[in-house]
Assembly symmetry: C2
Homo-oligomer: 233 residues x 2
């Protein structure tokens, strides 16, 4: 069955969060604490991503956006790296650093190409404004913004995948979840969606990244341009 | 305070629903029933818009999308015009006619211009796929699609305006509701949003349309290009 719409994981799959967050942290904090491994700082902040969302997924707290979760987890990361006396203003700017990430090199042209024959939407745990800022910065044109704020929950909860399929108006089999993370693809596949894995061997810098799916996937691609070529066939 | 984001009513304000629906109805039904005033057919169908949405707003039925509501109200309109034996397939195509409406002449260029300095999103009672189809057909570029499906309710319920302000991330005063309908502007203003009225004297064809706001509005414009000029000052 032909693919009619693509929904994208964003952090890791479309944008390089590790370098961007490290760059912003170094810029804002290096005078206060020289010599920090800012990539490791990024990793530590990202490590708080799943536990912070889990409080929403479990129903422990009502839905709040990712800026709010990142702001809450930032204090622990600063403490871990021994960075003290950071102003609220600087903390807010560090959170805004997640809005200033760069897309992986081939993404812009691949998105432009994919949009000719498919509807496109991010399906991220990032909220609407975060997705808008990343799309504008990297000149990515989407048809809609779906995901956490649209569904007021966080992946991999079923609502995000099911709401996205309904909103785009095709069958699950015609709707392709695109991600560099096998767990995201597994959740999508469990609801009948088609899946595409994108290799991102540098997502975690020296820590690597997924080079191939660890679960069955409809497509496995070296990058987004490769996926666009496979879909053209 | 500067306007940072614009949210748009769509049917009547950005697109000419009456001509488009009449064109599709004539195309699909004229052999079956010659001589119908297809503009009046459009009006009669549009007349069912508010009562059909009221069943959702009141909580009588869970949220369903506008295609579903239009499909339900179509049968009564066909009966009213004495048009019989219309197949389900034709009825589905008539509902799809709402996805094939043309923008008013100045809209595309005005949207392009407004997007340079503002975030833009439809805030319509139409659902995501309906907005995508209208945006693609008329080459309108939005940053997000907000409105009925994002909030699972229908204007003028408060959630639609409040959810849109939150999603775009500015204050209500920085968020401008743009509509050709004073009741939409009044609802937005009650939540602190800025408002812009667009004159659409031909919205209802010979039945006219609002040429000026009947409620206080932050801006009153002759068309969307005029609003773009006023916001540039």
């Amino acid at each position: 069955m032909a693919i009619r719409a693509l929904i994208f994981n964003v952090f890791g799959t479309l944008v390089d969060w590790r370098s961007g967050v490290a760059r912003e942290a170094e810029r804002r904090l290096q005078k206060r604490k020289p010599g920090v491994d800012w990539g490791a700082f990024s990793d530590a902040w990202r490590d708080q991503y799943q536990p912070s969302m889990e409080r929403v997924r479990s129903g422990e707290t009502p839905w709040v956006d990712l800026d709010t979760l990142q702001r809450e987890s930032l204090d622990g990361v600063l403490t871990k790296f021994g960075i003290e006396d950071v102003s609220d203003e600087t903390k807010a700017k560090l959170v805004q650093g997640w809005h200033k990430l760069d897309a992986w090199p081939e993404v812009r042209e691949a998105v432009r190409s994919l949009r000719k024959h498919h509807l496109l939407a991010p399906l991220s745990n990032g909220h609407v404004r975060l997705m808008i800022d990343l799309a504008r910065r990297n000149r990515l044109r989407f048809d809609a913004i779906l995901g956490a704020e649209f569904s007021r929950d966080y992946k991999p909860k079923p609502a995000l995948y099911l709401d996205a399929v309904r909103a785009l108006g095709f069958t699950p089999q015609e709707t392709l979840m695109v991600a560099a993370h096998s767990n995201d693809l597994a959740a999508a596949a469990s609801h009948g969606l088609a899946t595409a894995h994108i290799a991102r061997p540098r997502e975690y810098g020296p820590g690597g990244g997924e080079t191939a799916p660890s679960v069955p996937a409809t497509f496995a691609a070296a990058d987004l341009a490769d996926l666009a070529r496979q879909l053209e066939v």
